[in-house]
């Protein structure tokens, strides 16, 4: 039979492991919070620029909106409605289809490699 001391030591080790996992989770949550805040700010800036830039010309606003979306996509974020604002790994069919749809007002723009 295991001694109580050994059982307590095992339990201590398990608690340490659990504490470590909680810390990891806390870090991940913090990173996500920060990323979320940054994205919100970026989005807010985009809208502010879009509306403050001109009130008269719809075309220019749409064009700016497209450039901003392109910028977000280029920074490896999804811009499709499925995962808008989430980090992407590789190209996304849905983001590109969305960009293609929006492309007409900003024809001639290029997407950088990514």
């Amino acid at each position: 039979m295991q001694s109580i001391y050994k059982l307590a030591r095992d339990m201590e080790a398990k608690l340490h492991a659990l504490l470590f996992e909680v810390k990891e989770l806390k870090n991940k949550a913090q990173n996500l919070d920060e990323e979320n805040a940054r994205l919100r700010k970026e989005l807010a800036d985009i809208y502010r620029e879009g509306f403050a830039g001109d009130a008269g010309s719809v075309d220019v606003t749409t064009h700016k909106g497209f450039i901003n979306l392109l910028g977000l996509y280029d920074q490896d974020f999804h811009i499709c409605n499925l995962y808008f604002g989430r980090k992407r790994a590789g190209d996304c069919l849905f983001c590109l289809a969305f960009l293609k749809k929006e492309q007409e007002p900003a024809a001639g723009q290029e997407i950088r490699g990514g």
Partner: protein, 368 residues
């Protein structure tokens, strides 16, 4: 429970149901296979609570009953037996089973059968059937495009969408998309959508025999596939599948027709000389030739394949593994590859009557 059976028959049934036995599970009883002897058959059941498989085999049942036996032990034991009739008898008081073969015997300790989770088969809202080979081929053509990332459950499944007499099977991991249509003889309804886990379908295609007919039954959150002696039940994935039709490009600017296996072989060879983790092969459409190349520090490959071209001359790059996944299942001697623009997905489809397309995004290279 007491029965005698043929070794091959019990082994085949065990190998079918073991696909649902979880490798890791907090519930030890799920690492077991439930035996139920009834009438002239023995029913084997395994489940990981996401997917459940039940398979029956003929046996001379002496006494009805149930027992749960650890999957790994019973499979390895039966596999290693000589080709003799197998006699199995369970002891409900100790939850053990005795396996007798010739003059020898073995005893395996099991689990209480009444603790094994039962299949709950609710009555189906939608029911139809189709030939096993048609279903298996169609599923193979789309399953490879499902995502492995469990954080995005919708993409780990295959969409089954019904529009009158047409069944659409669609899978995408957002980098590629596979879409197969199956035409049925009668209308099954309209605007009906289910997302079936890719894992379930992966197991199903390995189970379905070519000559079998498969009955499909859908409830609100479960799907049931039933063949002659096997039944597969699985939960459905909740959520909205993305509007896949919007990613299919329109008019193409260039189209080639090429021998499928030649392209597959050339891509495989070119992929040998690519960087691990990023098997990118370059392709160039010239007059009547498709040039497949790869170039790394280790060396380079240059392959020229005869094609017939319609449209512009183009240069592009594909992930060789993704391209091969498609070519493996396209099921046609020749294939079409269509392009609508440098950033649009390539459309790969068979030169046949089968309504199948696969979309694959070209890889953007530095300087593109």
């Amino acid at each position: 429970m007491k029965f005698t059976c043929i070794k091959e028959e019990i082994l085949n049934a065990l190998l079918v149901v073991q696909r649902a036995v979880p490798s890791k599970n907090p519930l030890p009883i799920l690492t077991g296979i439930k035996f139920k002897a009834e009438g002239d058959k023995v029913f084997l059941t395994a489940t990981d609570l996401e997917i459940g498989i039940r398979c029956s085999f003929p046996a001379e049942v002496i006494e009805d009953g149930e027992s749960v036996i650890p999957a790994k032990l019973i499979i390895e034991l039966i596999r290693s037996l000589p080709d003799l009739p197998v006699f199995i008898e369970s002891d409900p008081f100790t939850n053990s089973v005795e396996i007798k073969y010739g003059q020898s015997k073995a005893k395996i300790n099991g689990y209480p059968a009444d603790e094994f989770p039962d299949f709950v088969l609710t009555s189906g809202d939608l029911h139809f059937n189709m030939p096993g080979d048609v279903l298996a081929e169609a599923l193979r053509q789309v399953i490879f495009a499902t995502a492995a990332d469990e954080n995005r459950p919708v993409f780990t499944g295959v969409l089954l969408e019904i529009e009158e007499s047409c069944i659409h099977l669609v899978a995408t991991d957002t980098h590629r998309l596979a879409w197969r249509k199956i035409l049925m003889e009668t209308s099954l309804g309209s605007n009906i959508k289910f997302i079936i886990p890719g894992k379930t379908l992966n197991e199903l295609v390995k189970i379905i025999g070519p000559e079998q007919k498969v009955d499909l039954t859908f409830t609100e959150n479960q799907v049931l596939f039933n063949t002659d002696n096997t039944l597969v039940i699985s939960r459905l994935i909740g959520g909205e599948f993305p509007k896949y039709k919007m990613v299919v490009p329109g008019e193409c600017i260039s189209k080639i027709r090429i021998n499928t296996s030649e392209l597959q072989d050339a891509t495989k060879r070119a992929a040998l000389l690519t960087n691990e983790g990023a098997p990118i092969v370059k392709m160039q459409i010239t007059d009547d030739t498709l040039i497949v190349t790869s170039h790394t520090e280790a060396g380079h490959v240059h392959e020229e394949l005869k094609t017939s071209r319609d449209g512009e001359q183009l240069q592009f790059a594909f992930n060789a593994r993704y391209l091969n996944d498609i070519l493996k299942v396209i099921g046609s001697e020749e294939s079409y590859i269509e392009f609508t623009g440098p950033l649009s997905p390539g459309i790969i489809k068979p030169v046949s009557d089968v309504e199948y397309i696969s979309l694959l995004l070209p890889v953007r290279l530095r300087g593109d």
